[in-house]
């Protein structure tokens, strides 16, 4: 009886104490030794999408440093989930519930949806009053969209945030496999100006001949990889003012036809829809198309000699993407001035340099010093290939939102149909007949 009483008492005490302990405010960055902000201090929460724990650690240390530099502000860094953990879906739900952070990162394609629905703040008025701030410090492609005013349809009339970083596609090379196949080294071909679609196909074919489970080329199934073939043929997803589908133009069709050849006719590519990264890391793929974000994984897991090379030249050039995402300010933040200051501090050359050192990102500031510094973050030895991809001369197409329609809807129409083409389930003619009829619906929604 006595024991039962004591056990019950402990249970009651524990429950009550838990409830009481639960009354304490949410802890700041370091839970073990929470820093109690002074009474006049404000707390700013910010979030970005990290790719791995190393990035979380760097962002945490960046947050701690900026916290010290921002007087009267306590920063709380919240690492968001990865892309596969539905970072955007969670964020949108939090915005709907009114619990989203003050500053957060979103991909470039989401800017329009967030801006037109009033979810993020137009920072232009504050930026105009900020000494030394120039939008020209950042790459022009992303800034076109970041300063786009959907009401007037003109760029330069708003500021939705600042780009965190940029990236571009390269081909990750398994040099051992390429040498074994007796194919030319793509890096040498690129240096000699002979790295074009034909040379690419030749290397792919030779590597594929090494075995039934070996492939010359691999890429993952999303809009980025197939977009470059369309771009490099002179085509694009949209017309010039991004108000209609352009996936059925002769140039776009030429690019897609070449890519289909890799998958369906020549069968030199990892089947479309299969994740190409595992077979590449397992040494079964000669050339793996991906962005800078694949570098840390390759550094850690590749047990072969590897490097990178820029994408091959198509009829109209390299046709690369300029990928980017941006820090934006929650429209419902209670501290817009401080949030704007944080956005600026997160995009200084110094902060970007620290994050670039991990190998995942390229700084979004147009700064020779930042680029020179980026070149030192090896392997891969040929970091220049990334910079060649984003150079103005390569005329990269900036990833961007769809101000005149819904990008998620457009993507959900385009993706499955192109997947059918690259899987050999739909002919190019069938695709040509229906793609824009369907995709244009995304502009009327």
């Amino acid at each position: 009886m006595n024991q039962k009483f004591i056990a019950s008492l402990i249970v009651v005490l524990v429950t009550f104490s838990m409830l009481l302990a639960a009354c304490q405010p949410a802890p700041a960055a370091a839970p073990e030794e929470p820093v109690q902000p002074a009474a006049e201090e404000i707390t700013l929460r910010w979030r970005t999408r990290p790719d791995n724990q190393a990035e979380i650690d760097v962002y945490s240390s960046v947050s701690a440093e900026l916290d010290g530099a921002m007087e009267g502000v306590t920063l709380v860094y919240e690492p968001g989930g990865s892309e596969t953990s539905s970072y955007q879906d969670v964020l949108k739900t939090e915005i709907g519930a009114g619990t989203a952070p003050d500053v957060f990162w979103i991909p470039g394609t989401d800017i329009a949806d967030f801006a037109t629905r009033g979810l993020i703040m137009d920072l232009k008025s504050m930026a105009d009053k900020t000494d030394g701030f120039k939008t020209t410090d950042f790459y022009s492609g992303p800034m076109y969209h970041m300063t786009f005013n959907p009401t007037t349809g003109k760029t330069g009339e708003a500021l939705w945030g600042l780009p965190r970083d940029v990236s571009t596609f390269v081909l990750y090379l398994n040099l051992d496999l390429i040498a074994e196949a007796g194919a030319d080294d793509p890096r040498e071909l690129a240096k000699a100006g002979k790295w074009d679609w034909d040379a690419f196909l030749d290397v792919s074919k030779k590597v594929s001949e090494l075995g039934s489970d070996v492939y010359g080329y691999g890429a993952n199934a999303w809009w980025g990889p197939y977009g470059v073939w369309i771009n490099s043929a002179g085509g694009g997803f949209f017309n010039a003012d991004r108000t209609a589908c352009a996936l059925d133009t002769p140039e776009a069709i030429e690019g897609l036809t070449f890519e289909r050849k890799l998958y369906v006719e020549e069968k030199v590519a990892v089947p479309y829809g299969e994740d190409s990264e595992p077979p590449f890391l397992a040494g079964k793929v000669g050339m793996f198309q991906n962005g800078r974000w694949a570098t840390p994984g390759t550094r850690a897991n590749a047990n072969f000699t590897w490097d990178v090379v820029e994408l091959p030249m198509g009829p109209e050039g390299m046709g690369n993407w300029l990928f980017w995402g941006a820090y934006v300010v929650n429209a419902k933040t209670q501290h817009p001035e401080e949030a704007w200051k944080l956005v600026q501090m997160l995009t200084t050359a110094e902060t970007q340099g620290k994050i670039s050192a991990l190998g995942t990102n390229i700084p979004s500031r147009v700064s020779q010093a930042a680029l020179d510094s980026f070149l030192t973050f090896t392997p891969p030895d040929n970091n220049q290939a990334f910079l060649n991809g984003i150079a103005e001369a390569s005329n990269p197409t900036a990833e961007g939102p769809l101000w005149a329609g819904s990008w998620p809807n457009y993507d959900s129409i385009m993706g499955p149909m192109i997947s059918k083409v690259l899987n050999g389930e739909m002919t190019i003619d069938e695709y040509k007949q229906s793609i824009c009829v369907e995709a244009n619906k995304a502009f009327t929604q």
Partner: protein, 559 residues
């Protein structure tokens, strides 16, 4: 003397009832003033319209019932007591939840999850104290030692528990609570909680009940509903309300961020907007016969030598519905029939059978995400184990039998023909274990005498299975089929994790729940997503109804 005491008691009860009566009139009056301010948009004007609507209805209800309770209490009826108890109980619960919210307890629970880890080690000390205390029982024969153990154990537990509380932030919590509670609004809510509490106490008292002629039926009903109330309130708030609310959402173009217009049945019309047109030839482009800016081609078919094309305003909805139905039709038998056979095997009394039961049950308790990720790797066409073993097997057969079967890698998840099948295999495999346990439970209920009698009659194993096991398992089979069907119609996680992008290749694995998720959470179309959810609800309801009707016809539950 006795009469005096009784008179004093009655006066006290009267006073209590009068206080509660006044409280109810006050509540009605306060509610009316609140309504006035809401109607003239002086208060809560920034709230969404649906919340304003619900709030207004609730306040009208409160004003009406509270006034009625006041009138009835003035008449000294037991109905007044019942209504008063219900109103005050609900008021107490909701104001208490509001108090917890404004004090930050719910956010604090999140915080506790983070700080709990730093103190959890000290709980081991509490456990040690308890064990020492309990160890005293071993010394019944020496009472002093027993007492000593108990004392030491008690103090150790107390010391460690105090340290634990410090570590998880009890002191900080107390300080924070103190600061929060003195904020005027919070103080007012706390006061309201106390007032509701007092009103409940005044009405619940035995003497008040007797004075107001309570009877046993009323007392039992009140006590019954009191015990039922946590579940009932939970059901109403977290199930019934969202259900009704989602229907309202389906009549709007809400994007989840406050932008909403009432559009009536427009979402449902878009879903069901179909167009059937004849074609001049089998290959004629569908946009030549219908407006391509509205419709997408869904299906073309030949009927009596004539070609037709069926267009849909939302073809992806119909594709997802078809995929879901195919998934359901194949998955249910695949997870039920093997489970039935397996349960018969596992029901035998062979040594080590319990281990096998556990093994088969494991997939059903494992996390779907983890399982899906593992299967995704197994299915990888180039480096996955499934294709690896298929290749090894074919190579072995070719070498032994001098055959030349082609070694082609199956693209499990990247080809339209196989992707849905791959998902079906995983789902059936995962559900099978749970169904097996259900069948085994059903088998335990079959009387052994029936089998003995059948054996005496010369029935073989097969005959016993068909004539005894299967018919007597009918109730379990019905339950298994119904629950597995409902589960299959709601398939989401496996597709979401295993296919990239979800629903690919093409739209071959796009299921209806995935499609509603994409609309609601990725395309900012919560209203449309809610409409799809309601259509799915009707489909599930119809299928379940059919199953119940078929069960009634066969009399499965009458066994």
């Amino acid at each position: 003397m006795h009469k005096d005491a009784e008179s004093t008691n009655i006066t006290r009860i009267e006073t209590f009832i009068n206080i509660v009566t006044g409280w109810h009139f006050f509540l009605s009056f306060a509610g009316l003033i609140l309504l006035f301010f809401i109607i003239f948009k002086q208060l809560f004007s920034n709230l969404p319209s649906w919340l304003m609507f619900i709030g207004t209805i609730s306040i009208i209800f409160l004003v009406g019932t509270s006034f009625f309770a006041g009138i009835q209490l003035r008449k000294r009826t037991r109905v007044g007591r019942t209504i008063s108890l219900v109103i005050n109980y609900l008021g107490f619960i909701f104001s208490f939840i509001a108090l917890l919210q404004v004090l930050g307890v719910f956010l604090g629970v999140d915080a506790l999850a983070k700080t709990f880890g730093s103190g959890i080690g000290w709980l081991a000390g509490v456990l040690a104290g308890y064990l020492i205390h309990a160890a005293g029982d071993q010394f019944h024969f020496r009472i002093q030692i027993e007492e000593l153990f108990r004392k030491i154990g008690k103090y150790i537990a107390l010391v460690f528990f105090t340290i634990f509380l410090f570590r998880v932030g009890l002191i900080k919590a107390l300080i924070y609570l103190g600061k929060q509670i003195i904020i005027p609004t919070n103080l007012m809510i706390a006061f309201l909680v106390i007032l509701f509490g007092i009103a409940i106490w005044l009405m619940w008292r035995e003497e008040t009940g007797i004075y107001l002629h309570r009877n046993n039926a009323q007392t039992e009903a009140l006590e019954g509903y009191l015990f039922l109330s946590p579940n009932l309130l939970g059901f109403l708030i977290f199930f019934a309300f969202p259900l009704v609310f989602s229907f309202y959402i389906s009549l709007t173009d809400w994007d989840a961020f406050g932008n909403s217009n009432f559009i009536g049945l427009a979402n449902y019309l878009t879903i069901f907007r179909l167009n059937l047109k004849p074609l001049a030839s089998a290959t004629q482009n569908f946009i030549q016969v219908m407006d391509g800016s509205i419709y997408s081609e869904l299906l073309r078919f030949n009927l009596f030598g004539k070609y037709f094309v069926l267009g849909a305003a939302d073809a992806r909805f119909w594709i997802s519905l078809r995929n879901t139905l195919v998934f359901c039709i194949v998955t249910v038998p695949l997870s039920a029939i093997p489970a039935l056979l397996l349960s018969n095997i596992l029901n035998s009394k062979i040594p080590g059978m319990k281990i096998f039961r556990a093994i088969y049950f494991l997939p059903s308790i494992a996390a779907v995400v983890g399982i899906s990720l593992i299967w995704q790797w197994l299915y990888n066409a180039t480096i996955g184990y499934i294709n690896y073993f298929i290749t090894l097997g074919l190579q072995f057969i070719n070498s032994i039998f001098a055959t030349s079967y082609p070694i082609a890698l199956i693209r499990w998840l990247s080809e339209s023909r196989t992707a849905l099948l791959a998902i079906i295999i995983v789902s059936a495999w995962q559900t099978m274990g749970f169904n097996t346990v259900l069948f085994m439970a059903g088998l335990q209920n079959i009387p052994k005498e029936l089998y003995e009698a059948a054996t005496v009659d010369g029935a073989g194993r097969w005959a016993k299975f068909w004539k005894i096991t299967l018919p007597l398992l009918a109730p379990t089979t019905f339950f298994v089929i119904t629950t597995t069907t409902i589960q299959a119609l709601q398939v989401f996680e496996q597709v979401f994790i295993m296919t990239n992008p979800p629903g690919s290749p093409g739209t071959s694995t796009l299921t209806i729940v995935l499609y509603l998720y994409q609309n609601g959470f990725q395309r900012f179309q919560q209203g449309y997503g809610a409409a799809i959810a309601w259509v799915l609800f009707i489909v599930i309801f119809a299928v379940t109804l059919l199953q119940f009707r078929s069960q009634r016809r066969t009399g499965a539950y009458d066994v």
